[in-house]
Amino acid sequence: MDLYKLSAYELRNLFLDKKVKATEITEYFLKRIEKNNKKLGAFLTVLSERAMQKAKELDQKNAENKPMGRLAGVPIAIKDNTHIEKEITTCASQFLTNYKAPFSATAVKLLEEQDAILVGKTNLDEFAMGSSNENSSFYPSYNPWNLDCTPGGSSGGSASAVASRISLIATGSDTGGSIRQPSAFCGVVGFKPTYGRVSRYGLVAFGSSLDQIGPIATNVKDIGLTMEVLGKHCPHDAMSLEFPAESYIENLREDLSEITVGVPWHFLESLNKEAHDNFVQSIETMKSLGANIIDVNLDILKSSIAVYYILATAEASTNLARFDGIRYGVRSKDAKNLEEVYDLSRDQGFGYEVKKRILLGTYVLSSGFQEAFYKKAQKVRTLVIQSFDAAFSNCDCICMPTAPITSFKLGTFQDPIGMYLQDIFTISANLAGLPAISVPSGFDKDNKPFGLQFLGPQLHDAPVVSYAHAYEQATKFSSKIPPLFDKEF
């Protein structure tokens, strides 16, 4: 049976109906990982033993007709900046090659409680800082649609694993687009929930006012299924929202009648022709589904990259101060006194991009520059939020492309600003704490996927997912499997 072609939802039901065993599923996907991971660089660690152990327990439980979890038998990959108890969390950094997580992240705990099978830890840009996965200190990850190209970043390994169907679901973390942009580049679905919807406990912090964990899957319904498990209040994250979990699956829509979609046409002016045409076609599809399309003004988003690279680096510089070589991580062997433990461990442990962002964050917070940069950025962030509020008073959701271009060859961007500009359409959802989903919207002339993004007001997670579902059902782009991986083994 071609298990890789199934959705997580279908695979779970097959397992619950006793048509396939959890051990069979696990062996099948571990074999797919073994066969393909060298090409893809998607996984940093494969948890074969842990996965098989869980599978055996599930088979036992199923045989005894005991109640099963909502994700029973589904292979899930975890981004390697999120803790799984007793396993190594590297954040793709040389600093943490020896760091054994003393506890599981809440997201991981919830997935395991619902009987998901954790198959491994996925590759990322070091400490989630990057848009191409080239900043992993181990090896880059590649795009299943074109192995010369990036899967995007920072959750590049997760998107690559899901697109190639070596895992059906993966978690990501999104600080400025790190779930959505790789999902768009790899032709899969990625969702960044409302800020506070999913607990960040056990996620290694990057920009605390922006970070959010979310799922990447092959289709929108599986996103809903995973969110019903992950979207719960957690007392260990002070920003975790104290609202009941939402129902996603029963609210999935097939059309967009009576839905008003806002499009920031002026802000999108600079799109290249191919990306523009693809976006216009998506808008036509939404119209045919009954949506009312209106123009909204979000011109302030042109400043969002500058705001982001001030606030995110400022927060990162304080968050990453904890990596000092004293309590955990790799301590420099060259350090002869305490001062050198800090200075040398941090020089040797952090990669180039991470150092750059720590230095920039330290700069914008330092005396004399704080007013001009950090506080100014906080004020412009307020303007971004106000612009979204004004837009949402006239529409139910906002649509934009996920990225200005499709996946590019590794090594394309040598200039830092050029790379940062690729986040222009994703960053604003983090600045305003909004739920946003990327769903495949077609292919360019080189058969590389485009992504379309739906954004909603805070707490409108389930509606945003439901709009994406209607679009997906009308277009079916998410059912396409990269030809190189469209075979069992």
Binding site: F243, D324, E340
Partner: protein
């Protein structure tokens, strides 16, 4: 004068406690100069009477507190497992003071 100069980089190394290698410095300086020039564009935006965004959640704005009781914590042994060096149940560091 450049907005971001070599002296800034030297100062930041100390503040951020990263001792950069000489070969890294030239490239980092150039890159940071470009970024600082880019983020400086915010200066042209009128933010008179605009408040700083100190809190992003619009749906939950109260301070989060809990009862002041000891909860279940990770054991000392578990936490020390990740220590680069330890002695007698404590983390060991190189000398803090010189003779």
């Amino acid at each position: 004068m450049e907005k971001f100069n070599y002296q800034n980089l030297e100062d930041l190394q100390k503040l951020a406690r990263i001792q950069l290698k000489d070969e890294e410095k030239k490239d980092l300086l150039e890159s940071l100069q470009k970024i600082v020039e880019y983020i400086d564009q915010l200066d042209s935006i009128d933010t008179k009477d605009v408040a700083c965004c100190n809190h992003v959640s619009q749906v939950q704005n109260e301070n989060v507190v809990r009862d002041d009781v000891v909860g279940e914590l990770l054991s000392r042994e578990t936490l020390l497992e990740n220590a680069p060096d330890q002695i007698g149940g404590m983390i060991r560091t190189p000398p803090i003071m010189q003779d």
